[in-house]
Every structure is written in C-alpha cells, then in structure tokens.
C-alpha cells in the first residue's frame, strides 16, 4: 500500500511541478508579421528629409501644446534669403535656408521648464548630428553666452561631419525657448552671422516687466 501512496504523491507532485515550471517560461522571441500600415519615420539619407523626420518625431505630451500656446507670439527680423514656413503645432516659427551647398532649417520652439537642463539638450542636439555626448567641463568650447530679448541665453555651435546645428537656448520666465538651425554643415556655418542677427532681432512676448 505504501508503494501505491508513493506512486500517487509522486504523480501529483511531478504533475504540478511540470505545469508550474514547464509551461510558463517566458523567452525572448523573434518573428515576422505582415507589413503594418502605421506610418513610421525611418531615417532618410537626405539632409532636408532628415530634418522633416526629426521635427515630426517630436512627441507632444498633454500640456505641451497648451504651454506653447500660452507662451505667446514672438517678433523677429529675418534675412531676405530665408524662406518663412508656416508655424505649426508646438513650433512658433519655422524657416528654410537654401544655398548652393545644400539646405538647412531653423525652428523656434518653446517648452515649459528646463526640459532636462542645458547639458541634456546640447547632448540631444549633438546626437542628432552624430557627436558623442559631452561633459559639463566641455561646454565652454561649444557655447557662448548671448543676450536674447533682454535675457541671458546661450548659443551652441555643434559641428558634425555632414550635418551641423547652430542652437540658441533661452530660459525665459519658467519656459525654455529653443532656436535650432540644422542642416548641411557648410550651409549652417555660412548662415552663422545671419543666425546671430536673427537672434538679436528676436523679441519675446514679455508680460512680466
């Protein structure tokens, strides 16, 4: 009889153990599915298209649009060779610069808060033109301070191999304004003076003074 009991309990235990540990194992898998129809911005080789992809891949969280709307409209002067594009969504202004070397695009956006801080934003931009992240000690080599609309901001020059970014960051009454000129390195660097003149001309809606 004892043998029968042993057989019984052995059956029960093996059954339970097998089920508990045998069936429920999670493993990494790879499989193919039919092409999904969702629109995806794949990286594209052309500089102009790349900018379009980067810009539209800006994630808009609830509240961001409202913050952008509340920030008001800015005024500025631009060189004649810049083409003004319609502002849309969280972009406050948008320009296109074409020369015989290529093209570049300038976008002006505003976000509440410090958006992760100066270093994080500069590294984010650096990543977009293929630069390695920098440390706070490296910052002075890329940046110079600049007064924009009566407030202290900084200007960043990020020179990549093919693409470059000239950027302006301006903390302004709890928001951060971003001026980003991105495109082919030669076009961007050639537009440096125009970019600085543009920043000088910018007046932000200031309700605090």
């Amino acid at each position: 009889m004892a043998t029968k009991l042993k057989i019984l309990s052995a059956c029960y235990l093996t059954g339970v153990t097998f089920f508990l540990f045998g069936c429920d194992q999670a493993v990494p898998t790879a499989y193919q599915i039919p092409k999904e129809t969702r629109e995806v911005n794949m990286p594209m080789p052309d500089a102009a298209e790349k900018q379009a992809a980067t810009a539209s891949s800006m994630n808009v969280l609830p509240g961001m649009q409202q913050a952008a709307d509340a920030a008001g409209e800015l005024t500025y002067k631009t060189p004649e060779v810049w083409t003004e594009m319609p502002a849309s969504g969280i972009r406050k202004a948008n320009f296109r610069i074409d020369d015989d070397k290529g093209s570049a695009e300038l976008t002006v956006t505003v976000f509440p808060g410090d958006v992760g801080g100066r270093l994080a934003n500069i590294n984010r931009w650096g990543g977009q033109v293929g630069l390695d992240p920098v440390t706070p000690d490296d910052l002075p080599t890329f940046t110079e301070s600049k007064t924009i609309s009566g407030h202290r901001g900084i200007v960043v020059t990020l020179k990549g191999e093919t693409d470059s970014i000239l950027g302006g960051l301006l903390p302004f009454h709890g928001n951060t304004w971003f001026f980003k000129l991105q495109g082919g390195t030669e076009t961007v660097l050639a537009a440096k003076n125009d970019f600085n003149t543009f920043l000088d001309s910018v007046t932000l809606p200031d309700t605090h003074h």
């Binding site: 019984l8 339970v16 790879a30 599915i33 794949m42 992760g116």
Partner: protein, 391 residues
C-alpha cells in the same frame, strides 16, 4: 492497511476538504472586493496556501485588523481531493456493474479537476479592439508587457524581436534574438506615473536618448494595481548595447504607444523601433468589424443587446468566415474563442476578449460523464426496485 494510505483514502478527509473548499470560496469572494477577480484567483485558487485578513475598506477593519485566517489554497485542496478520490477507488471500490454509475460520476469529477488545472495553467486571455470598418490581426494581453525591437526595413514584412517584461530585471542583460543588439534593464517599474518635469523639478533621469530626453519626462513609481479595468503603466529604463558598446538609455512605457512617434535605435545602416507594450499575439487572420450594435430599451439608457458583426479574413481564404458575436454567442475560430467583452469610442469600437483554452472541452465532457453516471446509477436501482415489486 498502511495508516497514511488509509488517511488519504478516508471519507472523512473528503468531507474536511470539501468544507475547506467552501471556506475558500467564501473568503475568496470577500477578497474580490479589495483586489479584484484576477488577483483573487491567483492568490486563493491558483495557490497552495493563503492568509485572509479583513479588507481595509470593511466596516470592521479597525476592530479586526489583527485577524488573519490561514487556509489551504485551490491547488492544495484540488490536489488532495484528486489523491483522495483515486486512493478511495484503489482501496474501497470494486469495478462491478452495480457500481458503474458511481464510477462514471467519479471519473467525471477527476476530469473536472484536471480540466480546471489545465485551464489555469494553459489558457491565455487577451483583448482585441477593432474599429468599425477596421481590421486587426493581433490581440493584446492586458497585464503582461513585452519589450520589442521592430525592424521595418523589409518592404514585405516587419520583424519583431520581443522580450517578455518578466525578463526585465534591473541590471540584467538579455540578447535581443535575431539582432546584434542586447538590452540591459536599468530599471523596471510594474506601474508608474509618467509626466513632464515641472518648474524647478530637475529631470533626474538615467535616459540619454529618445522621448524622455526630448521632453524631460520624469517617472514616479507606483504600487501595482489589480482591480478590473485598471491598467498598470509598466515603465522601464532600457540601455541598448551594440557589439561596440552602449547606444544609450531609453525610457519606454506602455503609455508611450502608437499615438506617439516611434523611438528609434540605430546601429550603422540598421534601425529598430524600441517600445514597451502590452504583449501581443499575432494571428494568421484578420478580424474586420463590419458593424457594432448597442441597442437600448426605447426611451432609456438600459442596454438590451451588444453585438458585433465580423468578417474573419484568413491567409488561407477558404477559412474566411462571417459571424455575429453577442452575449453567450462567442465565435470559436482556430482554437480561439472571441467573446463580446466591451466597447468604446462612442460605439464605434468593439472590444473582444480572445481566449485560447486548449482544455475548454474537458468540463463539458466531465459534466456529461457525471450526468450519465447518475442516470446509470439511478437506472440500476430503479430496475432493481421494479424487479422486487413484481416478485
């Protein structure tokens, strides 16, 4: 007879186990109020032991908070009942024609216990939302998540490299199958609140890439919740490693979903979408929702019918099928059962519960066996009785 064997074969044990089962069902029902059906089922019925305490919302909680009642769980009771029944058969029952009815009833009972265990362990439930006029070829879990790298470079198909979220343990590195990449979990939160860093709050985040950096997203871990119709916002910081080294740390979360542009991971010419999402089951067919009906009694908001008219388009078109899914009329198709579960979006989206339960037929067979057993047993007695009377 061996005393241990005698114990396991005794009718007294049966009675005690049945009493405990009733107790388990009673306290399990009470526990549902606090933890919802899913967790209760896990704690009480898919376990070996459980301790019941007074729910926090209960009136008597303040007076009885110290009360903890331990009791055997469903697996222990079910398992012991199973052993008890078989042991009883070995010792007491003789297979004779006179007892054949009881034998059938017991066989049905055993099958019911086995079937229940099979359902617990093998069945998979997921949900499939479909918009009117739209189609879907996958259903998604509502508790389990997966980290996916999606390669959309091929013109004909997408390749999905999926890692179940159960494997995302902080500090652990896992190779993403079929890619040169591996991922290291920096942190994993089963539930969290994510939002943007507000004024003065620094985005103290390990992320160096993707949406988190662009938007200064902060993560506040939260307690996991289990009640019905609530979703846990699974969130993780994931470092992606290439053979040459780290590509950066991304924040992924199942709320950063299809409404947002994808977060891309690139290595040389190749790139992948990185996302944490509810685990998906892709099917070799598409379900098209032709029409969803939500009928109410005239002049009231009280519903009397929800129904979904669907067309199933299979890769093998000979298996195409049209169906109307409504209360108590699920669609059984390719080993799956589609129930009308819910609806959303102003009655324009129907949500099906999709159940794969290989053991679904066992309870039906066991009930049939038990019914048959009872008829046979009563029949035998009845015939005997008639025989006595006529004698």
């Amino acid at each position: 007879m061996n005393p241990i064997f005698k114990f396991f074969a005794s009718l007294r044990l049966t009675v005690v186990l049945l009493a405990f089962s009733m107790m388990l069902i009673f306290f399990g029902t009470l526990a549902q109020v606090e933890t919802g059906i899913w967790k209760t089922q896990k704690d009480y019925f898919e376990s070996f032991a459980v301790v019941w305490s007074v729910p926090e919302q209960a009136v008597l909680h303040d007076a009885l908070f110290w009360l903890h009642i331990p009791m055997p769980g469903g697996y222990l009771l079910g398992g012991l009942l199973f052993i008890n029944l078989i042991a009883a058969h070995i010792t007491r029952f003789k297979t004779t024609w006179k007892k054949s009815g009881i034998f059938l009833v017991h066989l049905g009972l055993i099958l019911l216990l086995v079937g229940e265990l099979a359902t617990d362990l093998l069945s998979e439930e997921s949900q499939m939302p479909v918009d009117e006029g739209g189609r879907s070829n996958y259903s998604q879990a509502f508790r389990d998540n997966e980290l996916v790298l999606i390669d959309r470079s091929h013109p004909d198909h997408d390749t999905i490299h999926a890692i179940p979220s159960k494997l995302l343990k902080p500090g652990k590195t896992i190779e993403a199958p079929g890619t040169p990449l591996s991922i290291r979990t920096v942190n994993y939160y089963p539930n969290a609140e994510i939002g943007r860093a507000t004024n003065g709050q620094t985005a103290d985040s390990p992320a160096t890439q993707g949406a988190a950096v662009k938007m200064g997203i902060v993560v506040n871990p939260k307690e996991e919740v289990y009640s019905e119709n609530t979703i846990n916002t699974a969130t993780a910081y994931i470092e992606v490693l290439s053979p040459e080294g780290s590509l950066g740390v991304w924040l992924v979360s199942n709320v950063i979903d299809d409404r947002f542009p994808p977060q891309m991971v690139s290595l040389g010419e190749q790139s992948w979408e990185l996302a944490l999402r509810f685990a998906r089951h892709y099917h070799p067919f598409e379900v098209e929702l032709i029409d969803f009906k939500h009928d109410k009694y005239p002049g009231t908001e009280i519903p009397f019918n929800y129904s979904s008219e669907v067309m199933v388009h299979h890769n093998d078109s000979s298996k195409n099928q049209k169906a109307l899914i409504y209360m108590n009329h699920p669609l059984r198709y390719e080993g799956l059962t589609f129930f009308q579960a819910s609806f959303a979006n102003n009655d324009k989206t129907s949500i099906f519960q999709v159940v794969r339960n290989p053991g679904w037929v066992l309870p039906y067979i066991s009930v049939l066996l038990m019914g048959l057993g009872m008829i046979v047993q009563f029949g035998i007695h009845f015939v005997k009785f008639l025989g006595k009377r006529s004698a």
